[in-house]
Symmetry: C2
Subunit: 110 residues, 2 copies
DNA sequence: TCTTATACATAATTCTCTTATGTATTACTG
DNA sequence: CAGTAATACATAAGAGAATTATGTATAAGA
């Protein structure tokens, strides 16, 4: 598990990009997908994820679709058109950030 | 200027690594060096920097040397032996983090 | 039957950083 | 030479994002 300090500020970017790559997903599914993609190094907590999803929805970047699985609720999230644009922007921003940081820290990545 | 959200959690790493690479430095000098290295993209604020330097010193990772330039105080910081070890660890940790993130976000870095 | 996994959600707290404020010296510019 | 910008330290109030804790409930596996 990574030092969670570094993870701060990346949650929205992760959510947006994973939704862009994998299409319609529900909250719990996102946590599992990120866990899988990161080999268990990034474990999204529910207390951070759900408020983030609600916020992104309120901003119009995501839209929801609630379905019933038996007696259990499942809330799917999909990127809206503006959401797709922002997802791309956030990833670019992150790449720029990494490039700057590798210069400042004088590190080479494989 | 980068989205400051992403910068969160990286301040200690930056300070430790810059001190490791450039040796004895004082606070203001660190802000200028980082600004220069990052092409103006990372602007450390004093409100964040000084408390961080004090904290790292309290943890024994940095030691100080106060000198007088005319009538003005200048406080130099240098890594201690444990500080050098932690500096290395923090950079490794950051590299690991980037590797994980590039996988999760499916991005390639030049 | 009991525990774990699935699935949502919110509230209290913690932590880091930004913004604001304060003090003071030195250098530059009109 | 007066005013502003740069140098140089420091701390405190407030904001924002995440952790931790708590709550509800169903489904699956041991």
């Amino acid at each position: 598990m990574h030092s969670t300090e570094l993870l701060k500020g990346t949650l929205q970017t992760i959510v947006l990009k994973v939704l862009k790559d994998h299409g319609k997903m529900y909250g719990y599914e996102i946590t599992q997908r990120v866990k899988e993609l990161s080999d268990g190094r990034i474990l999204l907590t529910e207390g951070a994820l759900y408020p983030t999803l609600h916020k992104l929805e309120a901003e119009g970047l995501l839209k929801t679709e609630v379905i019933n699985i038996g007696k259990r609720i499942r809330k799917y999230y999909v990127l809206t058109a503006p959401g797709k644009v922002i997802a791309k922007d956030r990833v670019s921003e992150f790449v720029d950030f990494i490039n700057t940081m590798t210069t400042v820290l004088q590190v080479k990545l494989d």
